[in-house]
């Protein structure tokens, strides 16, 4: 009978809804998926090898190219590792400004995640609305750092340029506008058909989530209360109070809801950071500019990026170039468990599951 025959379908690497260059080899029977393997590496630029060939200062623009949707996060991760290695404490004001920019970047990244999630399921309007709000955030970031996507802003012990005058008022007015709009969008996206497409799809149990190595909002969607800003606080996150949204169902809807609430929390963080923003210098140390050697040793730093817990294992041998920089990125681990989740679902569900895991393939392939 025709339906018994297993058909091999090749989804990607150029496919409208794989969120980047992922190739999924699917073995399907009728509409359900029996087995699948993921092929990655189409966006592999060997960033870690490039790190070994460049001075520390030159690596900062490189890290932007990994998670190009939230570029400032990996930049902040790399500079924090060097600061920990050379035991340099960044100035108070620059830490607050960093947190403001990081949280704005997290909101922008979640807007991309939720916007393209709606687009994958067929709801074009969410995509346009989310990218419209993201446009406002990008112009705000552009006024501080000079670039919309790639900022090259964080320096050793400080920042390149401080917040311009009148920026905080613009940011606060944007936040109130976004807060009101975000409630509307939540009601708009969560309609009856959205529930039918996401409830009970791609369920990952609590034990599997930790074993298979899930990260970030997807992990918090399966019931784990793990946020690096809470269990390993860095920068000034211990002085700011915000709560970590956790859901227990572990399906695509839970992961979407965690992401939706994290935007609300980030807005709270930025408001607090702007309220008690101290005065002071934010000039970074210029020692790192040229061939200043960095103290030898190795260090491991983890940060809560938009997609989850990311870490950098930095080994320095005392010269002015890093000896080895290994980046552990959340999307890499989330994509590893993708073939395991989609077995048994329909073809249309792959799109919902990939959208709920929100991988970015610059970060997966490095």
């Amino acid at each position: 009978m025709a339906s018994e025959k297993i058909v091999e379908l090749n989804m990607g690497p150029q496919h409208p809804s794989t969120h980047g260059v992922l190739r999924l080899m699917l073995k399907i029977k009728g509409d359900t998926i029996m087995d699948s393997t993921a092929h990655i590496g189409y966006l592999h630029r060997c960033i870690e090898k490039l790190h070994e060939k460049r001075h520390y200062m030159w690596c900062i623009p490189l890290t932007n190219r990994m998670d190009y949707v939230a570029a400032l996060h990996s930049e902040h991760l790399f500079v924090q590792a060097v600061e920990k290695l050379m035991n340099i404490e960044p100035s108070e004001r620059s830490q607050y400004v960093r947190v403001i920019l990081l949280e704005l970047q997290r909101i922008a990244s979640h807007l991309v995640a939720i916007g393209s999630y709606g687009l994958d399921l067929g709801q074009m309007t969410t995509w346009f609305w989310c990218f419209k709000e993201r446009e406002i955030i990008l112009t705000l970031m552009e006024e501080v750092t000079g670039g919309r996507l790639f900022h090259n802003e964080v320096r050793l012990g400080g920042l390149k340029n401080d917040l311009p005058k009148g920026w905080t008022e613009k940011c606060l007015s944007m936040l109130t506008y976004l807060d009101k709009k975000w409630k509307d969008y939540g009601k708009f996206i969560e309609n009856e058909l959205f529930f039918k497409r996401t409830k009970g799809i791609g369920v990952v149990s609590k034990k599997d989530a930790m074993d298979w190595g899930m990260h970030g909002p997807s992990l918090r969607g399966s019931g784990w209360n793990l946020d690096v800003r809470r269990y390993a606080p860095y920068s000034v996150y211990d002085k700011l109070d915000f709560d970590v949204p956790v859901k227990d169902e572990g399906d695509s809807l839970a992961r979407y809801r965690v992401r939706w609430e994290e935007v609300v929390q980030s807005i709270r963080i930025v408001r607090q950071a702007i309220k008690n923003l101290p005065q002071g210098p934010t000039e970074g140390l210029r020692s790192l500019y040229f061939t200043k050697p960095v103290t030898p040793g190795e260090v491991y730093v983890i940060n809560e990026q938009a997609k989850g817990e990311a870490g950098v294992y930095l080994v320095s041998d005392g010269t002015s170039k890093p000896y080895r920089a290994k980046y552990k990125t959340p999307s890499f681990c989330n994509t590893a468990l993708l073939p395991k989740i989609i077995v048994g679902h329909k073809i249309a569900d792959i799109v919902a599951i990939i959208g709920s895991l929100d991988p970015v393939f610059g970060e997966v392939d490095r």
Partner: protein, 186 residues
């Protein structure tokens, strides 16, 4: 099936019809006044009286797209070059706009800055490499932009789209002495 969850999204969708659309109609409405003054993604500007030829920008550039070209005295045609020095030539092919060159430049105000001209795409690769004399700020006024009011006749074809590149300073502009040795990493 919650009827409220069906009708509510449609009401929100209809409500957004009455708000002003967000898109900026780029060729018709000009974008240059909306760019923030801290905008650093445009083509480089080399300021000839400030630049001291210290090669810091060429050394710091991660993608090695700045090269120091020596220009003898007042050879620059309509841009007066008053001291025979090395000036940075920039290749926009591999530049990633990390702004390290502007940051490292010791002069204040910066001898190498960024203009607001971000339309740098080009059909001829050779024209992406800019001789220092082409990077002078006075040259930018001559760049033939499409003014918003001229867009209509661009559409009707009465006028060529923006002519991106600056006409070369002099076609006979030859570098005087050949490059001795390739700059290797210090």
């Amino acid at each position: 099936m919650g009827v409220k969850k069906i009708v509510q999204p449609m009401l929100i969708a209809v409500k957004s019809v009455f708000q002003k659309p967000f898109t900026l109609r780029y060729p018709e409405e000009s974008i240059y006044d909306k760019l923030p003054e801290n905008f650093k993604q445009g083509r480089h500007i080399v300021d000839f009286n400030l630049c001291v030829g210290c090669q810091q920008c060429a050394r710091i550039c991660p993608s090695e797209c700045i090269e120091m070209i020596s220009i003898p005295e007042n050879k620059g045609g309509n841009t007066k070059v008053n001291k025979p020095l090395l000036y940075p030539a920039v290749s926009l092919e591999t530049c990633m706009w990390c702004n390290l060159c502007e940051e490292i430049c010791p002069t204040t105000p910066k001898a190498i800055r960024f203009s607001k001209l971000f339309e740098n795409s080009n059909t001829n690769k050779a024209q992406l490499v800019f001789h220092p004399l082409d990077l002078d700020e006075k040259k930018y006024s001559e760049v033939d932009f499409v003014k918003p009011e001229e867009v209509k006749d661009v559409i009707e074809g009465k006028r060529a789209p923006t002519q991106k590149t600056v006409p070369p300073a002099q076609p006979s502009q030859q570098p005087e002495q050949p490059k001795e040795e390739k700059k290797e990493d210090s």
